[in-house]
C-alpha cells in the first residue's frame, strides 16, 4: 500500500542502471530524455529550413546536381514577387480561402447553435455531422469527383432537381467558372464540422446564469444573441478562422484530387504552383524562395493564431 509509483519504478530499475543514473544530475537526466526529441526536431525541421533558405539564394536545380551552383542573391525573390502567374495563383488561393472561411464559419456556427439546444438524438446528429472531417482528403477528393460527374454524378441531379437545368449541361470540375466553387463546396463540406466543434465548445463555456440574468432584465432572444452569445463565442470563432485560414493557405491534396489545378490554371493554388515549380520544372532555387515566402506568411498567421489562443486561455 505504501509503494508509490516512484518507489516501484526505483525497485524495478536494474542495479547496474541505477548505479550509473545515481551519478547524474537532474539536469543531465532531463537532457537524456529531451535530447532525442531535440535531435529529431533539428534533423527533420530546422536543418531542411536552413537548407531551403540557403538554396533560395542560388540557381540550384535538383535534376542537375552536378551543375555548378551560382549564388544569385535576392534575384529569385525579385522574380517571384514580380511574376504575374504566381500573383494569379495567390489570388486563386485568396478566393478559395475567403469563401471557405465565410461559408464554414456561417454554417459551422449555425450548426453549433442548433446542436447546443437540448433535443432528442442530439449525440447521434453530432456524430453524423462530424463524420466528413474524419475522412482522408484523398478519399473525399475521389468520391466528390464521382459526385461531380455530369452524366452519373449525384450533385448535378440535385442541382437539376432545384433548378430544372439539364444535368449534363454543366460540368463542375471542367468549367472555368464553376471549378473554383467546386473545390470550395468540398472543403466546406469536409471542414465545417471542425468549425462547428470549436463553436460548440465556445457556446458550452457560457454559463447559464448570464442568460437567466438577461431573462430577468427582459432582454429579447435577439438581444441576448448579440450581447451575450456572439461576444463570448468570438475568441473561439477567431481561433477557428485562423486555424482554417492557415490550413487552407497550404491546401494541396484535396484540390489535386479534384481538379489538379485546372481547367487551365484557374484552381492552381499557391501550394500546387510551388509543387509544379519544384518537381515538374525543377527550378529548385526559385521554388525554395517561393516556399520561404509561403513559410513566412504561414508563420506570421501562426503568430496571430497563438496570440488568439492565449486570449481564449485567459478566459
Amino acid at each position: 500500500m505504501n509503494d508509490s509509483v516512484a518507489t516501484r519504478a526505483a525497485q524495478a530499475t536494474p542495479p547496474g542502471v541505477a548505479r550509473r543514473v545515481k551519478g547524474l544530475s537532474d539536469r543531465a537526466i532531463a537532457w537524456i530524455f529531451v535530447g532525442p526529441t531535440i535531435f529529431l526536431l533539428l534533423a527533420i525541421n530546422i536543418f531542411p529550413l536552413i537548407w531551403t533558405i540557403r538554396l533560395s539564394f542560388t540557381n540550384f536545380r535538383a535534376n542537375r546536381p552536378n551543375r555548378e551552383v551560382e549564388w544569385v542573391g535576392l534575384r529569385n525573390y525579385e522574380r517571384i514577387l514580380g511574376d504575374s502567374d504566381i500573383w494569379l495563383s495567390m489570388q486563386a488561393t485568396a478566393h478559395f480561402l475567403i469563401w471557405t472561411i465565410v461559408l464554414q464559419v456561417l454554417i459551422g456556427f449555425t450548426l453549433a447553435w442548433l446542436i447546443n439546444k437540448k433535443f432528442r438524438g442530439n449525440d447521434l446528429w453530432t456524430t453524423i455531422i462530424v463524420l466528413p472531417m474524419m475522412l482522408s482528403p484523398a478519399v473525399v477528393g475521389n468520391f466528390w469527383t464521382f459526385l461531380y460527374q455530369p452524366q452519373i454524378g449525384l450533385f448535378n441531379y440535385v442541382i437539376t432537381w432545384f433548378t430544372g437545368a439539364d444535368p449534363s449541361s454543366f460540368e463542375m470540375l471542367g468549367s472555368v467558372n464553376l471549378a473554383p466553387w467546386s473545390i470550395i463546396i468540398v472543403d466546406t463540406w469536409m471542414w465545417t464540422p471542425f468549425v462547428m466543434l470549436i463553436c460548440l465548445a465556445g457556446l458550452r463555456s457560457i454559463p447559464d446564469y448570464i442568460y437567466e440574468a438577461a431573462e430577468i432584465d427582459r432582454a429579447s432572444k435577439l438581444r441576448q444573441f448579440f450581447t451575450i452569445t456572439l461576444p463570448m463565442v468570438l475568441p473561439f470563432l477567431m481561433l477557428a478562422v485562423l486555424f482554417r485560414g492557415i490550413e487552407n493557405f497550404k491546401m494541396f491534396d484535396l484540390v489535386v484530387q479534384l481538379t489538379g489545378g485546372g481547367p487551365g490554371s484557374i484552381t492552381e493554388l499557391a501550394s500546387i504552383n510551388l509543387k509544379r515549380e519544384a518537381f515538374e520544372k525543377w527550378r529548385t532555387g526559385y521554388s525554395s524562395a517561393f516556399a520561404i515566402i509561403l513559410f513566412v506568411t504561414v508563420f506570421g498567421l501562426a503568430s496571430i493564431y497563438v496570440k488568439a489562443l492565449n486570449k481564449v486561455k485567459e478566459r
Binding site: 525573390y77 514577387l81 514580380g82 504575374s84 500573383w87 495567390m90 489570388q91 488561393t93 485568396a94 480561402l97 515566402i293 513566412v296 506568411t297 508563420f299 506570421g300 498567421l301 503568430s303 496571430i304 496570440k307
Partner: protein, 63 residues
C-alpha cells in the same frame, strides 16, 4: 487609444504585439489582393517585418 500609445512608448508587449499583428495582416492582404501589382511586390517584406517584430516584441514586459 491613449493606453495603446502609452504602451508603445513604454515598450509594453500588448501594444507592440497588436502593431505587429496589424503589419502581418496588411502583408498577407497585400500578397493576396487582386488590385495592384506593387502591393504584391512589397507584401513579403511587410509580412517579414511584421513576423520578426512579433518574435522580438513577444519578449517585452506585459502591462
Amino acid at each position: 487609444m491613449t493606453h495603446f500609445f502609452s504602451g508603445l512608448f513604454r515598450f509594453r508587449r500588448g501594444a507592440w504585439e497588436a502593431l505587429a499583428t496589424v503589419i502581418i495582416a496588411i502583408g498577407v492582404f497585400m500578397l493576396m489582393q487582386p488590385f495592384v501589382m506593387w502591393a504584391y511586390t512589397y507584401s513579403f517584406i511587410t509580412t517579414l517585418i511584421g513576423t520578426l517584430m512579433f518574435i522580438i516584441v513577444s519578449h517585452f514586459p506585459s502591462d
